[in-house]
């Protein structure tokens, strides 16, 4: 019986909410929407040198993001030579593949890229909860059945954690912020071996 209770407790602890597990302290919600300013200027061409490691294989290219209008982004990936690998449109909540190399035209891969890049560029999401830990103010929102936790430090967005079943699935890290332009971005997947490193091309 005691064993059963202990097991039950363990199950309860491991199923505990993300905020409890990571010691986030609840705060009253004081703002309505979350702003991600890093891809928010329509006059900026966001161009990054990308290094992608997937299951031990490393390859590079250029990631290009352009805001065309409110809630309308284009995200393209090319090789260093300029050959297009993929080209997506994110308009409101819709998603369109403008181009993808035939060899990469796989539903599962496209879905991962769609999730990653829509989280990366999305702004103005509604705030569902607010927390605090150490020097971070944390705002929680949700998108496509995932919870999103936005970590702000000195009002700069430094991390987004995409959480599913109370576990972090994908972590987005932003650093070297210059005039609302994140010079370095890392996208780290927790359940698959995919790591995307982005470094801004300063022309």
């Amino acid at each position: 019986m005691r064993f059963l209770i202990i097991s039950l407790c363990l199950v309860l602890v491991s199923c505990g909410s993300y905020s409890k597990k990571y010691g986030l302290q609840s705060e009253p919600v004081s703002i309505n929407t979350i702003e991600n300013v890093y891809f928010d200027s329509a006059s900026t061409d966001y161009v990054y040198k990308a290094n992608i490691t997937v299951y031990g294989n490393n390859f590079g290219g250029l990631l290009i993001v352009k805001k065309l209008a409110e809630n309308n982004h284009r995200v393209a990936f090319t090789t260093e030579f300029g050959n297009k690998i993929f080209d997506f449109s994110f308009i409101d909540d819709s998603f369109k593949v403008n181009f993808i190399l035939e060899d990469l035209n796989k539903k599962m891969l496209i879905n991962i890229l769609k999730q990653d890049f829509s989280t990366l560029i999305k702004s103005n999401l509604p705030v569902r909860a607010s927390f605090k830990i150490d020097n971070f103010n944390i705002l929680k929102s949700e998108k496509d059945k995932s919870d999103l936790y936005y970590y702000f430090s000195n009002s700069n967005l430094s991390k987004i954690e995409s959480v599913k079943h109370q576990k972090p699935k994908t972590i987005f890290l932003f650093s070297e912020i210059k005039n609302s332009f994140a010079q370095k971005i890392e996208i780290v997947h927790q359940s698959i071996k995919l790591h995307i490193n982005l470094k801004a091309l300063n022309q």
Partner: protein, 200 residues
Amino acid sequence: MAFLLVATWASAQQKMTNTEAETLKALVKTRASQKKTIVSDFTQYKHLDFLSNDIVTQGKLHYKSPGFVKWAYVKPFQYSIIFKNETLFINNEGNKSEVDVGSSKMFTELNNLIVNSVKGDMFDDEQFDISYFKVDAGSVVNFEPKDEKLSDFIKSFQISFDDKGDVDSIKMTEPSGDYTKIEFTNRVLNSTINDAIFNN
């Protein structure tokens, strides 16, 4: 308005007669066969219609006959690719890797394409629909791939030649209209290139 545009384009770029085309072809082929080595700087402009500005990258090309090519970007990042003995050697900001492409028909063709376009000699009527034009500063030849797999991602290669029959620039246009243009400058022909240049 459209008529005016067409008229302007036509005056800047005039179709060659068969004789003129044959003369250019002979000139480029002779020049290409004499090119034992090429060292050149290049500037690449990636044009995407939705961007405000082209993405500009710069680097250095080394070519040594019959088929060694080193294509190295130096600005704003360091990335090089070497084609040697049916192998691709990649150096991605210090991260080195290689791909054996001897078994891949696609890569062998790509390799040939790069070597031939660098020399200018892509005049293969079986592979391309070719059209020849005269422009102010020399000539422009348009190569449209016949192969369906290649034409899926490249609509045309456009090579601009100077009066001597050397390649000034290469423009690769995608079916969407987006393109990559590479301009060559400071070209040196037939200097001695140490083989070590082609080591990754």
